[in-house]
Symmetry: C2
Subunit: 335 residues, 2 copies
DNA sequence: AAACTTATACTTAATTTGAGCATATGTACG
DNA sequence: CGTACATATGCTCAAATTAAGTATAAGTTT
């Protein structure tokens, strides 16, 4: 216990560090995530990633940028480290004796204009993988039709009473089934719950089940699957982004240089998964000094033309928490 | 570009993953950090850490807990992953051909009662390493006497005008020299700025300077130093904890099972580095349902005896963001 | 008993938030 | 040309929250 600080080089064997990127953009009021098409080995699409090279990469982030530029011909602007994933058996190949992969996950934001489609990378609709997260037109039907009943059954099937209570609390907290307000930031909580209950494809796949089995019967899987644990990384990214919007002006990383206030509002709504009160939204961004008018007018609206605005970068130095601190209105769940 | 997803094992060579822990407690209204005494090789104390063992450790967090228990005989309760550090030359030994260390940093909270002093681990005063962060009795003198002048000089010494402006903005943002309100969460920003300007010991040490040089003349180094980049990890932990207190009831991880409201307030103040308005603080914790009275009375106050309270765990399931959302009053800077 | 320390209840004004009304200014289409 | 419709924008209003007190209670210290 005294010599523990002496030279301790790689006693650890077989660690590989992967750098993974959840690259987000918003086009046509829809949030998108950059995916690479499945290669021969991978049956499902996944996030772009590549191994960290300690000799070539000065920093982790630099390594990530290099990989992404090579794989997708995309130059990343805003990049933020999310989380480092290192649980055993994140990659099923590990069971067969593969090395232990540790992934450092990143969130990156790029503007719509930057999408050059480079071969085998594509923009995937974010809510295709998380259909229960989009409340913009009311409560997602999949919750009432599929998720809620299955979760209730899972709660009831607990063997002991304290266990049942724990399960109920967890369900209520994640999916607000107990009447609480929907918390749009708990994306990861919800995904992990669905995984544990077996409601997402990855769960049964990771458990080694033949996927065609369950799918043959009733539809019990929700949302489209990604390879390995990439959907979990994406859930982490969504939650972080939804939280960050509220206190940092990151939304402007996704906007064109000039935009109308409605375009800005729609972008926030797309990411947040709920609707905003229009007048209050305008009051907020104006009062917080987040934007300034350009004097130009947009003609694209189909109604009264809107003024074009631009982001006021100076706001970062003026206010402690500049961001779109707006309450997301989420229509009450039916029933 | 098409085969990039095929088997790509460790082309990366010489990566070692370290797990580091910033273990925080509060005793006698002072925040403390657990440090391990310098061994022969390390000239300064540092955070407890150990290598990640992919064969033995099921998860990263489990690996961290195992290391800490082994090194300090401390069982960790609340643990949260902070950030993964991988910049080149974080450890000066790397220049001499050592392996590239990547550290996954964690924040852990333990209660005062849990401190068993196990041999060569000690509790260090948190503000000894960051004297400019404690505003509880007004603006720290070190800012006006040392930091502000040095930063101003650094701003003025910029060669180009845009460069000077960038420096000024950065200084104003981090240390609120431009009249803005002090933001107690920007701990990392401030440390990194001081590092870059050369005001912390680690900067000149990492640059290879003989430390006795500078110290011989005027005192230009602020705060006590830690080994390698552990002070940076600690800064990250402080910032995260200060932020988290406001929206999650993590403060109770540091409190005894029952406590008076003033004890609770002092603990929050100790971590936040500022004073709170007493009456509003009580109204807040009561109104938020964070605590409930035990019916018992504390006799230790030296004034009117206070009622003892306990944390209401249920609050987590009731409110979206339970936490001590209180504006930290920071006395205005002198001058 | 007087001075001091801490606890706790209550007041008040300013600010922020949530929701909506009213009106302006354009397009689409009969 | 006129009516319906869509969007933009200014403004009001009540409720809730926040910041900063005053007032009083209930102990300890000297």
């Amino acid at each position: 216990m005294t010599t523990r600080h002496s030279e301790r080089t790689s006693t650890a064997s077989g660690v590989v560090i992967d750098l993974s990127a959840a690259i987000v953009t918003v086009t046509d009021e829809e949030p998108k995530i950059l995916l690479v098409r499945p290669a021969d080995m991978a049956p499902r699409p996944g996030l772009p990633f590549g191994p960290f090279d300690p000799t070539g990469h000065r920093t982790l982030e630099e390594g990530l940028r290099a990989w992404v530029e090579e794989q997708t011909a995309l130059h990343l602007g805003y990049v933020e480290q999310l989380y480092t994933f290192g649980d055993r058996f994140r990659d099923p190949k590990e069971r067969a004796g593969g090395p232990r992969p540790v992934s450092v996950g990143y969130l990156a934001l790029v503007r719509q204009t930057a999408l050059k489609d480079a071969g085998d990378s594509i923009w995937g609709d974010w809510y295709r993988y998380f259909p229960w997260e989009d409340w913009r037109s009311g409560a997602p039907t999949i919750i009432d039709s599929l998720i809620a009943p299955a979760l209730t059954e899972w709660v009831d099937s607990a063997t002991s009473k304290p266990d049942r209570n724990r399960r109920r609390e967890r369900v209520n907290l994640a999916f607000s089934l107990g009447g609480a307000a929907w918390d749009n930031e708990r994306v990861l909580d919800r995904y992990e719950l669905l995984y544990e209950v077996g409601l997402v494809f990855e769960a049964s796949f990771d458990a080694g089940a033949d996927p065609s089995d369950k799918l043959a019967g009733t539809q019990t899987h929700t949302g489209a699957a990604l390879t390995k644990d990439h959907r979990r990384i994406l859930a982490t990214a969504m939650g972080r982004l939804r939280a960050k919007i509220k206190y940092r002006p990151v939304i402007f990383e996704l906007m064109a240089p000039t935009f109308t206030l409605l375009q800005l509002q729609r972008a926030v709504e797309a990411l947040s998964g709920g609707r905003l009160h229009k007048q209050n939204f305008r009051r907020l961004v104006a009062h917080e000094g987040l934007v300034e008018p350009t004097g130009h007018i947009s003609g694209q609206t189909g109604g009264r033309p809107a003024e074009l605005f631009r982001f006021r970068r100076e706001v970062v130095h003026e206010r402690p928490a500049p961001g779109v601190r707006v309450a997301v209105q989420v229509s009450k769940r039916a029933g």
